[in-house]
Subunit: 348 residues, 2 copies
């Protein structure tokens, strides 16, 4: 199948918000893949600086990823319920729940980010959680950028095709981090990457990119058999030298890569308010993976981020969002350049 991406090979390094910066993007681009920059947690000046760094370092095409959610209004009642749920943990860690530090909020794509896209014209712009409103999307497309977004069901894939995506990422339920789900209310509809990729490839006119469980040449070749035109790899990059995750997350991934049977993952909304897959930790188990009182995305992260920060200083991951997909065995502590070259052997 023809490579639909502007990169040399049809492989995308998944944007890893909070776990990477331009160094990873550059390494992957240099190796021949499509490196991504995760913009959702970057202040606007930092985003601009990172793009400048990428463009100065290499003239390859790259992807900038934004979130396309809308910021909800939170009532004080919702906030109280949520803080009450976590009360015993605040007490345990000696945190004043009325003085929580305002962490980095995941922001939706807006005029400011659009202006950066218009100024620096990345070859590819990808969105998570659907697509931004038409006016913003049209402006992105007017820059000539190829637009990608993730579908977790066939229905979402059809919607993305109808609403302007140039390619659809088939994000299987196996994928680590936030699920791109945007039309469905119940997680029971979430599909495995194998049938999702095959169904989307059969039913859509536009190319399909397989994501979730894609960690090595074997899984890449399986995805191609299913009709994927490209693949996206996330978890496998998270142990790379360029990864910016903390030492405890790194340790957890190393353990999971060695003994995956002992480090199950689950989809939880407890950390951010939206479902995301990570290694099971104490907070997830004690609240239940999905809790109705978790503040809507992204606001839950303020409280859980505070718990995580204090607990991790004590060396414990009870409250950590250890994002990880269902197959961590592709994680390697090597450069993202070398990992990409290894993965690209699948296309030889």
């Amino acid at each position: 199948m023809q490579n639909p991406l502007p990169s040399q090979y049809p492989l995308i390094q998944a944007p890893l918000a909070g776990a990477q910066n331009s160094a990873m993007t550059i390494a992957v681009c240099r190796a021949g893949g499509l490196g991504s920059l995760a913009a959702a947690m970057l202040p606007i000046d930092k985003l601009e600086q990172e793009i400048q760094t990428i463009q100065a370092a290499c003239d390859k095409p790259f992807n900038v990823n934004f979130f396309a959610h809308t910021l909800p209004e939170i009532t004080s009642e919702q906030n109280d319920k949520w803080l009450n749920l976590l009360d015993k943990y605040f007490n345990e860690l000696g945190i004043d729940k009325n003085a929580l530090p305002q962490g980095v909020l995941r922001r939706p794509f807006d005029e400011n980010q659009l202006s950066i896209v218009e100024k620096y014209r990345p070859s590819v712009v990808s969105f998570h959680f659907g697509l931004p409103e038409k006016r913003l999307l049209d402006a992105v497309k007017a820059t000539g950028a190829m637009v990608l977004s993730s579908a977790t069901t066939l229905k979402e894939g059809l919607w993305l095709q109808e609403n302007g995506a140039d390619c659809v990422i088939a994000q299987g339920v196996e994928a680590g981090g936030h699920r791109g789900v945007f039309l469905e209310n119940d997680l029971s509809t979430q599909m495995g990457v194998l049938p999702l990729t095959e169904l989307l490839a059969r039913k859509l006119r536009i190319p399909v990119i397989a994501a979730g469980g894609i960690v090595d040449t074997a899984s890449i070749q399986a995805a191609l058999k299913l009709g994927a035109a490209a693949v996206q790899v996330g978890t496998a990059y998270m142990l790379c030298e360029e990864s910016t995750i903390g030492v405890l997350h790194r340790q957890a991934l190393e353990n999971a890569a060695r003994l995956p049977e002992n480090y199950p993952t689950a989809v939880t909304n407890i950390f951010s308010g939206r479902p995301a897959r990570g290694i099971v930790t104490r907070l997830m188990q004690e609240t239940g993976f999905i809790h109705k009182d978790a503040l809507p995305f992204p606001f839950a992260a303020t409280a859980t981020g505070a718990l995580k920060a204090v607990a991790e200083k004590q060396g414990n991951t009870d409250f950590s969002n250890l994002w990880c997909g269902q197959n961590p065995t592709g994680c390697k502590n090597i450069s993202a350049y070398d990992l990409t070259r290894e993965l690209l052997a699948a296309f030889e």
Copy 2:
């Protein structure tokens, strides 16, 4: 990879309890696959008769499948809670909840079934929900039968290898019907077939059979790329001429095969007490897919079976367990022989 199965090709027709009889087994065996007979819902004399029919019709190896659960004790309190949950539906359909017809109970493997195995010596015996107690398992193995069972996680696969399985079926979360899960308590651990197959193939010494989302030559070839030594196909056989499902289930599968985006499936415990995947119906939606008050397997099926029977007479599937995997597009109203031949092209 070498075919680990005694059949000509490494393809198993998944046992479809309640949806098949010996006609399907024979058709698949004749075509070169490994036909299965689902024994869990057959009275012992019927089981014997079906095996005689198979052996009279063809001298190919075949598989007999049993369930390996244990029958729980039910308290009257549990029973009352369950019947109360369904009370409004009994009223709606005019069913006397104190006089529910005793439907066909799914029975665990026992001495009687063992005696049939010993008498007729099928080449392959597969179990669902783990393995039977050692004494029974040893007796099965003493007949020379190859023993298979399903794993839904890496941990379950390691357990099955340790406890006497000759091959492990990697049952991805995509699969229709009952999940083989037997060690895990939380369904969040259930893995997609792509990473599950690959992890089991890497970590086990014994061969791995991919199941879930395997519906055509492309998905078979994808499974082989992941290290599967064989595949198991279920849903795709359910529209075959030999399928014994009712007209309403048949209609639902035809609709799902044509417009899969409109017929999502979900894993529910509401029909039998154990998690199983089917097309979403009213009962599942109204009770919630997983309900803590569902009577333990297999006893929930008595009440839901009564609801289904009465509702289906009125032509409605509100209470039907429409078992179906995540990719119904492989379903074809052709003979199981022809479908098997089409699938086996994957190995040419």
